[in-house]
Each structure stands twice: as structure tokens, then as C-alpha cells.
């Protein structure tokens, strides 16, 4: 792979090319599932290819191919350069990159149990047992389970001399219990929606989340939701579980801090951001309790956004985003860092595959834990609504107005659950929401959640991101507008 990458780099360095980088990737997936006791997805996928990015005549060009012969690579390199030169047909200025040192490294993500060495029989047997457990509950009309594993080895080389060999292994698993009755569809998922929990781990993740143990309660809740009261409409103190808060962080902190969005790169598709440059170090994003970081280092945890180097050869870093409620940082690339006068990229450029261009993507954008016990979060007010597990999510293209729905809600009185609520939703404006943060549970309850399906870019790239969060409480939040009719 290294030899292929170096040959491609050599081929890309043509007259007028001032910078080039190459990524050669070999990836492998296994995807398994069940549905109502029968096999669902049972598949594997292998892919290999090369992506070549060049700066020529001050403009970017990128070409990717699955043809790894010498001729294929030379053609792709030539095409990348042609494309860059054609970009000059609509150029305002030459691209400038923030400086970065040359790096030579090999890194393999921690993986205690290689998921590809665990037999498919064992994996399907667990899923089948979970599926069976879900269907034990009378009223469950559809049970689905899934597991997905991926290993990708990437060799990155660049014209500044970097040679970086990284291998990442990710695992994910989860289940869903649906119940249809009386003209309503209710659902419970575990450990999260979107196919469960996803982390930069091996099969040990599957042991840790213990799907079988949690199946009976989830199945029972899916059925019981039909007889629960409709979540009321009004303003309430709101407590969110960690998985829902992780998605709230993703949508209302993670996306708006992408500096390419701020600068307009995504204006036609994913949108822009309310976090215009004048707001850096001047905006009160949240209450004093709110501290958020963008951290790709393994020290932060085994997240979907954990790596050693990003896809333009910048080492993984931790960057403060919100410090004591104040907005203090963006996620940057070498190009966008230079555009705002920063001395260095904070290393967030990632591509979904060899075929796609690296973009600024969330690494692990996490809300740091607070100091309160879980009991204090729940009992700190006399009356609140608690919501668990995302069911729907939507936010405007500048990331101000959001609305989320959850699978289940509970009315909380004096810290205790007093009644189950169905169809809970809440909505608000990003900065108002984070400024209403009144309590965040401590590190004992902090989990690095994985969101496997973050979309951005044209052509669209769907990538996994990480979000650490523990349950938290927010004051005076609008609840129930989605069903107000």
C-alpha cells in the first residue's frame, strides 16, 4: 500500500502542482441482522482504492479510482491535476494552507477482541437470542437486531514528506422493538437508535452493552407506551438521557462549529452556521456549566471520531469549543485555519472512503461531565419531564431552531418517575437551550456515544462521529409543540 501511495504521489507531482496528498485504503465490513427471528442482513464487503488530491494553479483537484494498476493510478493523478486546473475557470484567490510538520507514523486502534475472528455463528446466535427475547413480550409486532464491524487501513502520503499508516476497527450493535396497536406505532431501541452504540472498539463492545440483558425491559416499554399518557404541551424543566444529549450536541454544537460551514462551503447543501467569525470569544453559548471540546485523541475515549492523524496528515488534537459557557473555538482544516489567521489546523479533516475528498467532520465533539450526581440532576427541581432515546431530529440550515422527538418520556416529581409519557418532543433555539442548562451529571454517567450516520458534502459523505455526554437538566424548555396540531 505504501508503495502504491508513493507512486501515486510521484505521478501527481506535475508542473504547477504545489501540494499533493494520496490516501490508499483497504476496508472490510461485516453486517449481520435478524428480523422477527429470521436472518436479516448477512453480508460482507471489501473495498480498495486510492484518492489523489492536488493543489495546482492555486486550486484543488481530486480524483479517485479503484484501478490500482500503474496505468490506473497515473490516469487518476493526471485527472486530479486537470480538474484542479479547470477549477481556475472560477477562481478568486489561490488556496493557502496553514503550516503542518512532516509526520511518519504507524498507528493501530485498540481492539481487544478482533470482531472478524469471532465466528458469524456466535454473532448471529446472540442476535437471534435477543430477537427471541424481544418477541416474548406480548404486543411486540416487530423485533430487529443488528451488528456491524469495520476495519480500514489507510496509508497517507503527502508532498511535504508525511507517511502515515493507520488502521481503525469499529464495532456497533443494537436492537429495536416495535409495537403497533390502536393506530399507533411505538418503538424502543437499545442502546440507542441508529443501530445502537458504535465505538472504536472490537467485539468487546458487544460484551459491554449486554444486549440480551436489556431486551425484556425495552420490549415491555414499547408495548406499555400505548397506554401511556400523551406528553403534555408547555414549558417544563427537561432532563435528557446521555444518548439524546449526545445527538443534541451533534446538531447544535458539532455542526455549527465546522469552520467550512461558517465560511460558506456548504451553503448549497448542509447549510451555513449562526457562529459567524465575529462570535468567536464573544458569544455566550451556554450557561457556566457548559464545557465542550472537539477531541480526536484516544485519551478522550474510543469514539467514532478517534484517530491518530486526520486525512490531511494533521495529528489528533483536543480543542476547546465552549469554555465555561463561552464560545472559544471552531473545528478547522489547514485551508480554513489559514483563512482565519490560525497558526495550525486542529485536525478534523476526514473522508468516508478512498473515493471521497476529506472535509471538516466532527471528531468527538463532547459535552464534558458536570459535578452532580444523577440523583441531584433528577431531584434538583420538584417537577420535570425526562426523555430517553432519539426518535426524530431536525434543525435549520444555520443551526438555530431545532426539534427533537424521543421514544419515551417520564414525568418526574421530586426526583421520582411518576408516569410514563408517549410521543415526547421538545424544541428551541440553540443558544437559548444551552444557556438554560441547569445541571450536568458527573463522569460516572458520561458515555462516548457514536452517531454512525452524519451526512455532509456533495457528493454526500456519511461518516461516524463521537459525542460524550451524561444526563443533564435544562430549565423552561418548550415541550410538545410537534403534536399540538
Amino acid at each position: 500500500m505504501k508503495q502504491l501511495a508513493l507512486e501515486a504521489l510521484d505521478s501527481a507531482q506535475r508542473p504547477g502542482v504545489t501540494y499533493a496528498d494520496v490516501r490508499v485504503i483497504e476496508s472490510r465490513d461485516r453486517e449481520l441482522g435478524t428480523k422477527n427471528g429470521k436472518p436479516g442482513q448477512v453480508s460482507s464487503d471489501e473495498s480498495a482504492g486510492i484518492g489523489i488530491r492536488v493543489l495546482a494553479d492555486g486550486c484543488w483537484g481530486f480524483a479517485a479510482t479503484d484501478d490500482l494498476t500503474r496505468g490506473g493510478i497515473e490516469s487518476a493523478a493526471a485527472l486530479a491535476v486537470d480538474i484542479a486546473r479547470s477549477s481556475a475557470l472560477a477562481k478568486k484567490h489561490d488556496v493557502t494552507l496553514a503550516p503542518e510538520a512532516k509526520h511518519e507514523a504507524t498507528w493501530v486502534s485498540p481492539c481487544q477482541i478482533d470482531p472478524f475472528t469471532v465466528s458469524v455463528e456466535e454473532q448471529l446466535s446472540l442476535l437471534t437470542a435477543v430477537d427471541e427475547e424481544l418477541r416474548r413480550a406480548s404486543g411486540v409486532t416487530l423485533a430487529q437486531t443488528s451488528m456491524i464491524f469495520n476495519r480500514a487501513r489507510q496509508v497517507f502520503v503527502s508532498s511535504i514528506g508525511s507517511v502515515i499508516d493507520q488502521t481503525r476497527t469499529t464495532s456497533g450493535a443494537g436492537f429495536e422493538a416495535f409495537s403497533f396497536q390502536g393506530g399507533q406505532i411505538q418503538k424502543r431501541s437499545y442502546p440507542n437508535s441508529f443501530g445502537g452504540q458504535h465505538q472504536l472498539k472490537g467485539y468487546e463492545l458487544i460484551h459491554e452493552i449486554d444486549l440480551l440483558k436489556h431486551a425484556p425491559l425495552m420490549a415491555e416499554e414499547a408495548v406499555t407506551l400505548h397506554s401511556a399518557d400523551q406528553c403534555p404541551e408547555g414549558r417544563f424543566d427537561l432532563i435528557l438521557d446521555g444518548s439524546q444529549l449526545g445527538l443534541q450536541v451533534h446538531e447544535s454544537i458539532g455542526h455549527p462549529i465546522e469552520l467550512d460551514r461558517v465560511l460558506g462551503s456548504e451553503a448549497n447543501y448542509a447549510g451555513m452556521s449562526f457562529l459567524t467569525l465575529d462570535k468567536l470569544n464573544h458569544l455566550r453559548y451556554g450557561s457556566d456549566l457548559v464545557n465542550a471540546v472537539c477531541d480526536a485523541r484516544i485519551e478522550h475515549g474510543p469514539g467514532m471520531g478517534t484517530f491518530a492523524f486526520d486525512d490531511e496528515g494533521v495529528p489528533a488534537q483536543s480543542a476547546d469549543i465552549i469554555r465555561d459557557g463561552q464560545f472559544v473555538g471552531y473545528m478547522t482544516s489547514r485551508e480554513t485555519a489559514a483563512a482565519i489567521g490560525a497558526t495550525r489546523s486542529n485536525g478534523t479533516m476526514r473522508a468516508t472512503s478512498w473515493a471521497r475528498l476529506p472535509l471538516i467532520r466532527m471528531t468527538n465533539v463532547s459535552l464534558l461531565p458536570g459535578e452532580q450526581t444523577l440523583d441531584e440532576v433528577f431531584s434538583g427541581v420538584s417537577h420535570a419531564i425526562y426523555m430517553e432515546t432519539n426518535r426524530s431530529w431536525s434543525i435549520d440550515d444555520k443551526r438555530y431552531n431545532f426539534q427533537f422527538g424521543c421514544e419515551i418520556g417520564w414525568e418526574i416529581k421530586d426526583g421520582k418517575r411518576v408516569r410514563m409519557l408517549k410521543n415526547p418532543t421538545y424544541s428551541g433555539i440553540t443558544t437559548e437551550f444551552w444557556n438554560s442548562c441547569a445541571a450536568i451529571a458527573n463522569r460516572d454517567h458520561w458515555v462516548l456515544w457514536g452517531v454512525p450516520n452524519c451526512g455532509k458534502g456533495q457528493p454526500e459523505q456519511t461518516i461516524g462521529t463521537g459525542h460524550g455526554a451524561s444526563p443533564a437538566r435544562f430549565h423552561n424548555i418548550k415541550v410538545g409543540a410537534a403534536y399540538a396540531g
Partner: protein
């Protein structure tokens, strides 16, 4: 083998046949009699612009072979993007090993038999051969148009080709090649924006400058947007807004989804659900449609009457769901194995005769919506969707557009919406971002439920 200047298909029918021969040979060597191979190939190039400059400009080529074996009521799939004989053999071996590990499914059908598939010619050699310079010049012209209005342009111009082929050991031999071009543009003024998008088999069918002009005009007309209170309004949804919202329901026109009780059509098929003026079909052969004329098992797609005079009539059936229901498959199944079954993908919503201008002229007070964004399902059975308006939202007063509006969040049931349609424009091929391209009209709808307003 990047083929930017190659007018031919990147994976020809004869190459596909040859590759399937290699798959069959590998399967025979392993004692596997039942084998299916799905071939795919894609070359796509996309020129992306923002801040009135080309900032991302890419091309990609990938080809893949996906092998499915079936034995003893077990099936599994293995995919590779390497076409050498060792990789093909390994893919067959992996599919076989996975299948042997899976539990038996007594309802698993043998592989499909061959059926006649109507040819759909959707390959435009000029679009397949479009160069970076071609896209760059077109983008530069569009930018100049928006810039001359004192605005900022962002968007994409893409061209490319896709091949999909399906062969199996029972004689299915289906191959389809298609080109596609897309142009999308957002024009931004200080506090407003406008948007336009089109897609076509041939780039010659798209008027890039007309799209740029339309986006710029919307941005100009919506400067200094006003905030009005959320509530129920008469809205005129332009075709892209219709497809992005109404498009969220077509996954439910699946026999498997109904059998699983996860479709809003559960217990509702054949009952009056929408207004009399709602007629929807699925028709891969429609002249404005695109797509493959066979499904994931090689069954030819047939036309479906999904909604007739407001009544949901037909569902899409894959072979397995059809077998369970005792009907013929409709050719809408996804490649096996999968959990979701099937879905219609070539939607044609019948239009009317009212132009958007006539809809505006007949509206005392309402809202014109160019585009919707981030649409998600709030309630799966009532089909309540939430999302935002974007890039061109206007107040209509006394029969004319009077000013731009700050964008709304909506929470709107699709069933209710399709009961409140007062007028339809003629249908056209439309392209959005939240659902696949469709043939749809603009719609004038009463009582659309805006629940919140955002800050811009």
C-alpha cells in the same frame, strides 16, 4: 481507468457477462449451484462552488461485484471491488461461508427465473464524456450571473454514469447503463437567499443560466425578510418542496412494511385516505424518470397505481413478499438479504392545470415555499413530518408575492396535507435534497401547520 473523456459505458454488457462466467466457475468449483451476481460501476464528477469560486472539484470511479449464494434455505452476500479471479473466488467463498453460518429461512425462495425486461435508453454519450472544463465554464457563467446581481453563489454541477447488472445461475441477465447530470445553485444576498436545482439524463436538458437567474431573483425578492407568527397558512409548495415532503411516505408503500406493521398504510389500504385529486403512480418507464428497469433479484419493474382518487391501491412487492401474499412480484425488491423488502422508486404524482402564478393570484394570504430542509418523521402512523423552510419563503397577500419571510419550522401530517390540496400545477421532473428525484407538480395546500419561526 478514469474515463472523463470516454463516451463508452465503464462496465459493458459483454464485460459483465464475462465476469459472471468467472463467478459461476468459482461457484461450481465450490459446489454451489445457485449463485447470483450484482455488478455495479460508477463514474461521477462534481464541480462544487461557493463564495463565487470553485472550491471543491472531484471525480471518482468505482466498480463492484456482489455475490449472493443460496443453499439449503440459507443465503448471504459478499461484495468486492476487485475483479481479478482470486478476488472473485474469495467473494464466492465468503458468501458461502456466511450463508452456511446463517439460520435457515424456510420461506427463502430459489433464485429468480429470467423475465423479459423492457429496455430504457438513458445513456447520453455527451454527458458521460463531460469534461472538467465543460463543468467549469458552465459554473463560471452561473457565478457571473449571480455576482452581477450583487449576490454570492454556491452550488454544484455534476455529470456521470452508472451501470447496474444482475445475473444468476437460472438465466437472469439484466444490464442497465444510465447517465445523470445535476445542477444546483443557491444565491445569497445579505439577509436572504434563493435556490434552484435540476437533474436530467442529458446535461443538454438543463438550462444552467435559467436556474441561476431564478435563484438570484428569489434572493432579490426576499431581502429584509419579515417575521410573521407561526400558525396554519395556505401554502404554495413548489415541486421540490412537494417531493421532499411527500417523498417521505413512499417507503411505506411496501408490502413488507405493511406486513411488519411499520407502515402508515397498515389497516388503511383500499380506504379513502387522501383527497380525490391525488393520483400517484410508480413508473420506471415514464419519459421524465430515471433508474434501473429491474429490481435487486432481476425482476422487471412494472407500473404501479399507488394512489387512485385519494385511495391507496397497490403496494410494491419483492418476490418473497409477493409469495407470502399469493400475488405476482412487482419488481421493486432490494438485493437480498435485507430487512426492508421493497419500495417504489420512480414516483409520478399526477399534476393539474393551474400554474404557480395562478395559484399565487388566487391566494388572499399565504406563503410560497421554494424548498424544505431536514425533514424527519415525528409520528410514523399519522405520518407527521417536521422540517424547515429554506432559501426562498415568501408572503402572499391579495394575490401577489409581497415580501420575503423568515423561515418556519413545520409539523405537518402528510395524510392531512394530501386532503387539503386545492390546486396542482402540471408535473415536471424535480430534484430536492431530502428524497429521490420524482415527477411532481407544485401544490396549493390549505391549513399547512407552521409551528415555529427561526432567526433568519
Amino acid at each position: 481507468m478514469p474515463v472523463e473523456s470516454n463516451r463508452a459505458e465503464i462496465l459493458s454488457q459483454s464485460q459483465s457477462e464475462e465476469l459472471f462466467g468467472a463467478v459461476q466457475k468459482a461457484a461450481a468449483a465450490l459446489g454451489v449451484p445457485e449463485v447470483e451476481a450484482l455488478f455495479g460501476a460508477h463514474f461521477g464528477a462534481l464541480t462544487r462552488f461557493a463564495n463565487n469560486t470553485i472550491h471543491q472539484n472531484v471525480a471518482e470511479q468505482d466498480r463492484w461485484l456482489s455475490v449472493r449464494v443460496a443453499l439449503d434455505h440459507r443465503t448471504a452476500r459478499a461484495t468486492t471491488n476487485r475483479f481479478d479471479s482470486d478476488s472473485i473466488r474469495r467473494a464466492v467463498e465468503q458468501a458461502l461461508a456466511l450463508a452456511r453460518s446463517a439460520a435457515a429461512d424456510p420461506e427463502l425462495l430459489p433464485l429468480a427465473e429470467a423475465s423479459a425486461i423492457s429496455e430504457t435508453k438513458r445513456f447520453d454519450v455527451a454527458t458521460a464524456a463531460a469534461t472538467p472544463d465543460h463543468r467549469g465554464r458552465a459554473v463560471a457563467e452561473a457565478i457571473r450571473m449571480v455576482e452581477s446581481a450583487g449576490q454570492t453563489a454556491a452550488g454544484i454541477y455534476s455529470t456521470g454514469q452508472s451501470i447496474e447488472a444482475l445475473y444468476n445461475s437460472r438465466g437472469v441477465a439484466a444490464w442497465h447503463a444510465e447517465t445523470m447530470a445535476q445542477f444546483s445553485i443557491t444565491a445569497m444576498a445579505d439577509d436572504s437567499s434563493g435556490w434552484a436545482k435540476a437533474s436530467a439524463v442529458s446535461y443538454e436538458s438543463m438550462d444552467v443560466l435559467a436556474l441561476a437567474r431564478s435563484a438570484a431573483e428569489k434572493a432579490r425578492l426576499s431581502i429584509d425578510p419579515a417575521e410573521i407568527a407561526p400558525g396554519r397558512y395556505t401554502v404554495i409548495l413548489e415541486p421540490a418542496a412537494v417531493l421532499d415532503l411527500v417523498g417521505q411516505m413512499f417507503g411505506d408503500f411496501s408490502a413488507t412494511a405493511v406486513a411488519d406493521s411499520r407502515s402508515f398504510l397498515t389497516d388503511r389500504l383500499g380506504k379513502k385516505l387522501f383527497g380525490d385529486n391525488i393520483q400517484i403512480s410508480d413508473d420506471v418507464a415514464h419519459p421524465l424518470q430515471a433508474g434501473v428497469p429491474f429490481d435487486g433479484e432481476g425482476v422487471p419493474r412494472r407500473k404501479l397505481t399507488l394512489v387512485e382518487a385519494g385511495v391507496p391501491r397497490e403496494l410494491a412487492y419483492a418476490r418473497s413478499s409477493a409469495h407470502r401474499a399469493g400475488v405476482e412480484p412487482t419488481g421493486h425488491g432490494f438485493p437480498l438479504p435485507n430487512e426492508v423488502g421493497e419500495a417504489p422508486l420512480n414516483i409520478v404524482v399526477a399534476g393539474g392545470t393551474t400554474t404557480v402564478e395562478e395559484m399565487i393570484a388566487s391566494t388572499d394570504r399565504g406563503v410560497l415555499v421554494t424548498r424544505l430542509w431536514y425533514i424527519r418523521e415525528v409520528d410514523p402512523y399519522e405520518k407527521i413530518m417536521t422540517g424547515m423552510t429554506r432559501d426562498g419563503t415568501f408572503l402572499i397577500e391579495n394575490g401577489r408575492l409581497t415580501r420575503g419571510l423568515r423561515n418556519f419550522r413545520f409539523n405537518q401530517g402528510i395524510i392531512e396535507l394530501l386532503n387539503n390540496v386545492e390546486a396542482l400545477s402540471p408535473s415536471l421532473r424535480a430534484s430536492g435534497e431530502e428524497a429521490f428525484d420524482m415527477v411532481v407538480p407544485a401544490m396549493k395546500v390549505r391549513g399547512f401547520n407552521f409551528t415555529e419561526v427561526t432567526r433568519f
